[in-house]
Amino acid sequence: MNQPQTLIDKLWAAHEVVCRDDGETLLWVDRHYVHEGSFHAFNRLAERGVKVAEPGLTFGVADHYVPTRGSRSNIAVPEIARMVRQVEENTAKHGVKLFGLEDPRQGIVHVVGPEQGLTVPGLLIVCGDSHTSTHGALGAYAFGIGASEVAHVLMTQTIWQKKPRRMRITVDGRAAPGITGKDIILAIIAHIGADGATGCAVEFAGSAIRALSIEGRLTLCNMSIEAGARCGMVAPDAKTFAYLKGRPYAPKASDFDRAVEEWSALASDCDAAFDREVTLDAASIAPIVTWGTSPEDALPIDANVPDPAREPDETRAKYLREALDYMGIAPGRKLTDIAVDRVFIGSCTNSRIEDLRAAAAVLSGRRSKVPGLVSAGSSLIKRQAEEEGLDRIFRDAGLEWGESGCSMCVGINGDLVAPGERCASTTNRNFRGRQGPGARTHLMSPAMVAAAAVAGHLADVRPLLVGRKG
């Protein structure tokens, strides 16, 4: 009888081209997503005078640098215009399909892939972006790579890897109303640390994970990199298949049925062994916000920030002092006493239709006390939100309704948080200077960002949901 296998074992075996004695394995790549930042790799191809090996398996998007405000056909800042033009030229030269600025399907790469049905279960997917882990939500093996590896994949459609360790994070039980995939993943990162899953392929399992929508699972897997994981994944199920059916690039008709049959086998065998197991109780998870400069600095909204004076470990106390100092927060302060200057709803973490609906459910009929920007994950989601009237809710609340792109998550398109300003944000990284030099970021779910907007300070969304559809 065959050895019981985990999901990553099965995905790994299906992509193995060469396995060397030293364990280095050459894996076949099913999808390669490129963006403006992939220029280093395209330059390397140009230096060698070679073409992209499999343009039909390579897809480009314009997302990192695209403006969300002002003209997109005539970009005001020349060096940003150059970045967008560069990805247009590089993809055109190699016959790679681009979802560019003029394309109604344009959006953030990790939103567009699943939305277009390019991301399906069982695939190996890479992209020169660490949040490629997102795609694992559909049962794919997906991970971020650097420029040298991007160049290698462009030239050979393969990648050298060492098999990651297998880690299962099981979240069982029923999450309270208002608790989202974002709260679950922040709770996990706070529990295991920002390097708690380093070197591991993480499979998320348990009844609370199964209960999440595909959108919620995408958020969950998106941030698995913030725990150091090589990738995050959820075994595909009926929800996955229903989500994919009819998507433009997904298999059709009888091909789809055959695919579903094979995808259904993509689950860990019941007695398969993992190298590491972690379990959490969903019922114990409250809405979570970050207070510091690493995603592991996360606490339930009713908590107080740490007090370094009460920390016995000297190194840890120094870390706390520096993080609080950067964030401009007094030691021991109640989280709900921290006033915010601005809000941002967007990014590959939380910009899908469900995220926008959740924020709108809180903001409907209310005003934001601070300015803010809402940027949908794709131009198609933006249109859908407008059809549902969500844009009106955001605008009526006093927030700006922008175009789609990476926007204020990383700030390289010019959407910046000013030095010293505090932003409640649905993004993935609260690193120093991430949203702009000197910017202070608090990560949380879209509903919690909406609550912070309404209150003007970090706030528990749950009272604001009473009597509403959250």
């Binding site: 070197g199 150091g228 433009p248 990284r429 030099p437």
Partner: protein, 205 residues
């Protein structure tokens, strides 16, 4: 890619845990090509204040550690964004070895592609080496990749590194050098896989 064997050089301690690639190279420099001099903007926002003045407290600004070829960091060094330009910035500044208790996976993968050694020691060893450097800032460390050893004063520490990465660094091999012998295997895999997993090919409407 340059081979790495052995290096004796000054080493700069950087104590921040979770020192992410945004700190190593802020995102606003990702538009730059490598030829523009990424080494100049390594640790930009840690090294300089908003007015562009050096921050005297940041270790690599101290005279003994300016131009160090070795960095010794804390846990989860290089976590975060996959930007390989963070490795270019370190390398082009002159850094050839980073010692830390753990590294971000993508960062250490990028490092090996560019001849930068990522040497893993325990938390205690990292703290000891940092303490020795603080006592004697001009102290040189000797890193021997073949032996996987760090000589620090009269102490010798063993470091760990993935054996495959070690071989590659010792020989200066990058991924492409490894792959070029396998063109036939790739072609065979592709043909068989098309029949085995037809659903893996994207089919636009």
């Amino acid at each position: 890619m340059q081979k790495f064997g052995k290096l004796t050089a000054t080493a700069c301690p950087i104590k921040q845990a979770n020192l992410n690639t945004d700190q190593i190279l802020p995102a606003r420099y990702l538009k730059w090509t490598r030829a523009m001099g990424l080494g100049k903007v390594l640790f930009q926002d840690l090294r300089f204040d908003a007015e562009g003045k050096e921050r005297p407290d940041f270790s690599i600004n101290k005279s003994a550690w300016r131009g160090a070829k070795i960095v010794i960091g804390a846990r989860n060094f290089g976590c975060g964004s996959s930007r390989e330009a963070a490795v270019y910035a370190l390398y082009d500044y002159g850094i050839r070895v980073v010692i830390a208790p753990s590294f971000g996976d993508i960062f250490s993968g990028n490092a090996v592609q560019n001849g930068l050694v990522t040497a893993i020691v325990t938390d205690e060893e990292a703290a000891e080496i940092m303490a020795a450097l603080e006592r004697t800032p001009e102290l040189s460390l000797t890193i021997d990749l073949e032996q996987q050893s760090i000589v620090c004063g009269n102490q010798v520490y063993h470091f760990s590194i993935d054996p495959v990465r070690r071989t590659r660094l010792l020989n200066g091999w990058d991924d492409l050098a490894l792959t070029k012998n396998y063109d036939d295997r790739i072609a065979t895999f592709q043909t068989q896989d098309r029949a085995r997993r037809p659903w893996a090919i994207p089919r636009p409407d």
